[in-house]
């Protein structure tokens, strides 16, 4: 039970410092570590470099840390849903590094797997390729992208056992598994902590070795685009 912490503040205690790099799981608002983001805000830690596919919305997710200006730089693939982001970026207060989404995902995986760099076709011939090493393989041109690691990774899973084994749910998995491997420390928040042995060992998405601390959180799980269809004859 040594990995389980009382709450998000305690789970981050001693791990934070100004200027640090943090990976945050999630795609849009789906599968984001809501509770740990709130605790980051409350901690006041600043000058953060945040590696996250998106940047939340104005009043939820990573948008909260933009509002308090705790973020110095974002590494993301898409930041379209955030007015405060736009304001800070256009005024030069916020740095932004765009990565193609698949390149970002692979960079996190590589960092966690001890791979300092890899080659990809993605982005060849575009702005993304400028300044990057080009190399031919079998007559095609590829660019080199580097692995990413973070001082801290914060991830959201569905269930965990006390060893830190994690199970994600549906598309809330997204970037969480790779980011869990790429943090010098990784803190996970989950909806439910089950007993040891309750998770199917063939179906553990993140083995506990990658998780140093763990909390049960309360999750609002906000929906960004509620699209529905109507029942016929209803």
């Amino acid at each position: 039970m040594k990995k389980i912490r009382k709450d998000a503040a305690e789970a981050l205690d001693g791990l934070l410092f100004d200027g640090m790099t943090i990976m945050a799981g999630g795609f849009g608002l789906c599968g984001i570590p809501e509770n740990l983001i709130l605790a980051l805000r409350d901690s006041g830690v600043k000058d953060l470099t945040i590696i996250s596919n998106n940047a939340g919305v104005d009043d939820f997710g990573l948008g909260l840390l933009l509002h308090t200006r705790q973020i110095k730089k974002m590494v993301s693939s898409y930041v379209g849903e955030n007015k405060e982001f736009e304001r800070q970026y256009l005024s030069g207060e916020l740095e932004l590094e765009f990565n193609p989404q698949g390149t970002l995902a692979e960079r996190c995986r590589a960092g966690g797997a001890g791979i300092p760099a890899f080659y990809t076709k993605t982005g060849v011939g575009t702005l993304i390729a400028e300044g990057k090493e080009h190399k031919e393989f079998n007559g095609e041109t590829y660019i080199m992208e580097t692995g990413l690691v973070a001082d801290l990774s914060i991830v959201k899973a569905w269930k965990a056992d006390p060893e830190g084994n994690l199970l994600y749910r549906k598309t809330a998995r997204n970037f969480n598994p790779m980011m869990a491997t790429a943090g010098k420390a990784t803190v996970a928040e989950v909806e439910e902590i089950v007993s040891l042995g309750d998770l199917d060992p063939d179906c553990i998405h993140t083995p506990g070795i990658f998780v140093q601390r763990l909390i049960k959180g309360d999750h609002e799980k906000r929906v960004e685009q509620r699209t529905v269809r109507q029942r016929e004859n209803a």
Binding site: F27, G28, L29, C30, G31, N53, S76, S77, Y78, V79, G80, E81, E86, Y89, L90, F98, P100, Q101, G102, T103, L104, A105, E106, C108, R109, T120, K121, T122, G123, V124, G125, T126, L127, I128, W158, Y168, R169, K170, T171, A172, R173, N174, F175, N176, P177, M178, H205, K221, R222, V223, E224, Q225, R226, T227, V228, R229, Q230, R231
Partner: protein, 205 residues
């Protein structure tokens, strides 16, 4: 245009549909063919929008819209999802565009001077998917061509487009070589197409 794009789908295809008009392609998939939709945020076998009481915040597509799963559905991480895309396992991608060049260059992610939202997964999709079909208006509202000799906007991918479907017609592109008009929309003439197109193209209608 979505209806025309749907004709590019073949039985057994694994397909990724971009945000916007490409999403509508799903509505025109023939009953006689079996197509599996991939969503790059980590899902294969995407179902339709949910009924109101089925909405699940953990189940969204790449456009962040709520969706449903099917009996064939599998979920996976973003790294595995883009491994699938980059590795050439997706048969077809349908995407929107701002500009396409006669050699198949595609621009659809940024306009210099405007706030850039990011490329999301578009660069990965055009680089990795076996066949890339673009669906877009033939020209801007002011009549400026969007099929060009060279894209003016920053590229999403170089020599990546295989087909362009516009409101005026359908073009095949041999990547790196050139463009061919293969279909005209009803009541559209080749001259009309030419007048709204900067790119050189062969006519084969």
């Amino acid at each position: 245009m979505a209806e025309r794009a749907a004709k590019e789908l073949e039985d057994g295809f694994y397909v990724n549909l971009g945000i916007g008009i490409p999403t509508l392609v799903a509505n025109y998939i023939g009953e006689d063919i079996d197509v599996t939709l991939q969503s790059e945020n980590g899902m294969l076998g995407m179902g339709p929008f949910p009924y109101e009481d089925e909405v699940d915040p953990d189940l969204i597509n790449a456009g962040k819209q709520t969706i449903t799963e099917l009996r064939r559905t599998s979920y996976f991480s973003s790294a595995d999802s883009f491994g699938m895309i980059r590795g050439g396992h997706i048969d077809l991608s349908v995407l929107g565009a701002m500009e396409v060049s006669e050699k198949g260059d595609l621009a659809n992610w940024m306009i210099p001077g405007k706030m850039v939202k990011g490329m999301g997964g578009a660069m990965d999709l055009v680089a990795g998917v076996k066949r890339v079909v673009v669906v877009m208006d033939h020209a801007s509202k002011s009549g400026a061509p969007k099929l060009l000799h060279e894209c003016a906007l920053p590229l999403t991918g170089k020599q990546v487009v295989d087909m362009v479907i516009t409101n005026l017609g359908v073009f095949e592109i041999e990547r790196g070589k050139g463009m061919k008009l293969i279909e005209l929309a009803p009541e559209v003439t080749v001259d009309e197409v030419k007048s709204l197109t900067e790119a050189d193209f062969e006519v084969a209608v």
